[in-house]
């Protein structure tokens, strides 16, 4: 397996790459997002699967992002995503609004290697009106008069997510967060951070195997302890709501955000004692 360190993992992502990331109710690699900020990545095209959260706001705020394709961007209970909203207002990013099942469906088309897949609903929404790449056809299997949306396959350059553990073979285990499997299957390659590496082969363990993503899909792995933080990791650690509220408060302004980066990403400055 290809075990590397966090900064080397970030170095594998060229500027302009399209990255698929899970949202804050799944397993985003906030550690890798911070490493991408440190490496000074530019022009990234982020895909939220199916929505976006903390890591996206962070990357947008740090100027790493050219485009966001997602169904929503939010910090959950801490409110709207401040740097995303500011960048959108300033016209610094291209926003491609989608709706959750459309993101899943476009990735599922990639998983199957087919050029498009249909999806019900959406007809009449302004989302469709602003997506020239989405088409409406008449269902060819009906007698006529049944319009349905066709969505193009979406193949990200990299899937980026956090997992609980990797094994000696480079398989990762993340339990039921299967949107990460969709991300891995649909992307050209995946870069994964894990809490720990353990001996053995998860695929030979019938209890672990269903929660695994096989090494087939994974380019490289780095250990990042508490790599999802402030997002929860299954039953291992909870969402750090104080950390997110603190971010939401500081990131209201560009200056506050820079200070937050200095403390929490570049670690060139210590946090003020609360």
């Amino acid at each position: 397996m290809n075990l590397t360190d966090l900064e080397s993992l970030a170095a594998r992502v060229p500027d302009g790459s399209r990255l698929a990331m899970p949202p804050d109710n799944s397993l985003p690699s906030v550690a890798l997002a911070k490493a991408l900020v440190r490496r000074g990545a530019r022009g990234l095209r982020l895909v939220g699967v199916p929505t976006s959260g903390f890591a996206t706001d962070l990357l947008v705020g740090a100027g790493c992002v050219a485009e966001v394709e997602t169904s929503a961007v939010s910090l959950g209970e801490a409110g709207f995503a401040p740097r995303f909203s500011a960048a959108l207002r300033a016209g610094e990013i291209v926003m491609k609004d989608a709706t959750c099942p459309a993101i899943h469906t476009m990735l599922q088309a990639s998983e199957k290697g087919v050029p498009f897949m249909p999806l019900r609903g959406i007809i009449g929404s302004d989302i469709l009106a602003h997506r020239p790449d989405w088409k409406v056809i008449d269902n060819p299997f009906a007698a006529g008069g049944d319009p349905i949306v066709l969505l193009p396959a979406l193949q990200p350059d990299f899937g980026i997510f956090h997992a609980v553990m990797a094994d000696s073979k480079g398989n990762v285990w993340l339990g039921r967060k299967r949107e990460c499997a969709t991300i891995a299957h649909a992307s050209r390659a995946s870069l994964v951070t894990v809490e720990r590496v353990v001996e053995g082969d998860f695929l030979t363990d019938e209890k672990l195997a269903p929660g695994c993503i096989s090494a087939t899909y994974i380019d490289a792995i780095a250990i990042a302890e508490r790599g999802a933080r402030p997002v929860a990791l299954l039953d291992e650690y909870r969402m750090d709501t104080a950390y997110i509220s603190d971010y939401a408060r500081m990131a209201k302004t560009a200056e506050g955000f820079s200070e937050w980066l200095a403390i929490h990403v570049f670690e060139t400055r210590a946090a003020a004692v609360a």
């Binding site: 961007v73 709207f80 995503a81 926003m95 609903g121 009449g124 929404s125 302004d126």
Partner: protein
């Protein structure tokens, strides 16, 4: 029950809409992320003895889905979710929802988080209850700036259902998809039809055209309140700790 909290009245009100015998039975109800009041309403229905399968998307531990976040949409696509809840930064008189933002696309005024699954769920779920606690002219508008999810569809477009009702902090509206209009079903204690009209940016019908005939929203019964504060709160504590602390004055054990 004059001493109930607004959230308790709303939960009991939504519970009655969930159990409305004139509607197709809600066997499987899904509740989205930031929706503690609808979640409380559905738990209340369960605790009252109705066998509803309740799938809470926000649950971290004990989440009902094992196939990732797409499972909800796959279930809904098949017609296996009977009832879902939606809200909106703006909701208009034709029951169109705007979760994208105000001003020009994609929300050049105030950007809201985004559409989530609304453009799909609104059309593919047989029953939708709209819920938005803030009842003001900036939320309830004549026409939404951007349509995340449309309230009605032209004939021939596949659609399983429409909004059943819109519940706000002031009243309950029924929606009539045949004429794409709301009618006022009841006003909450302390509210008046004139007050609701003044706070609503869209025109709506009053049954019989008689303002005085609009009833007050029934208060929760003693049994409902006891269940909300007891068994319902027990169920919600893990997923909605802030809500339980604020409304039921109950803190999670450390």
């Amino acid at each position: 029950m004059s001493n109930c909290k607004p959230e308790e009245l709303l939960a009991a009100t939504i519970c009655r809409l969930v159990l409305d015998p004139s509607q197709p039975t809600a066997r499987h109800v899904a509740v989205g992320a930031a929706s503690p009041v609808p979640a409380a309403a559905c738990y209340l229905a369960q605790k009252l003895g109705y066998p509803i399968r309740l799938s809470l998307l926000a649950r971290n531990l004990g989440n009902p889905f094992t196939d990732g976040t797409r499972e909800l949409f796959d279930l809904t696509g098949q017609g296996r979710i009977d009832l879902f809840f939606l809200g909106g930064g703006q909701i208009d008189g034709q029951a169109n929802l705007n979760l994208v933002g105000t001003g020009e696309w994609p929300g050049k005024g105030v950007r809201f988080p985004g559409s989530f699954g609304s453009a799909f769920m609104y059309m593919m779920t047989p029953r939708i209850i709209l819920f938005r606690e803030e009842h003001s002219p900036r939320v309830l508008v004549d026409k939404v700036d951007n349509i995340s999810a449309n309230g009605t569809s032209p004939p021939g477009v596949f659609r399983r259902g429409h909004a059943q009702a819109l519940v706000t902090g002031r009243c309950v509206f029924r929606f009539h998809p045949d004429r794409a209009r709301f009618s006022l079903a009841s006003v909450h204690a302390g509210e008046t039809v004139a007050g609701v009209r003044a706070a609503t940016g869209f025109d709506f019908d009053v049954p019989g055209g008689d303002d005085t005939a609009v009833p007050e929203t029934p208060a929760p019964s003693d049994q409902e309140l006891a269940l909300l504060r007891g068994a319902v709160c027990d169920e919600m504590l893990e997923t909605y700790p802030d809500f339980c602390a604020r409304v039921f004055n109950r803190k999670q054990a450390a």
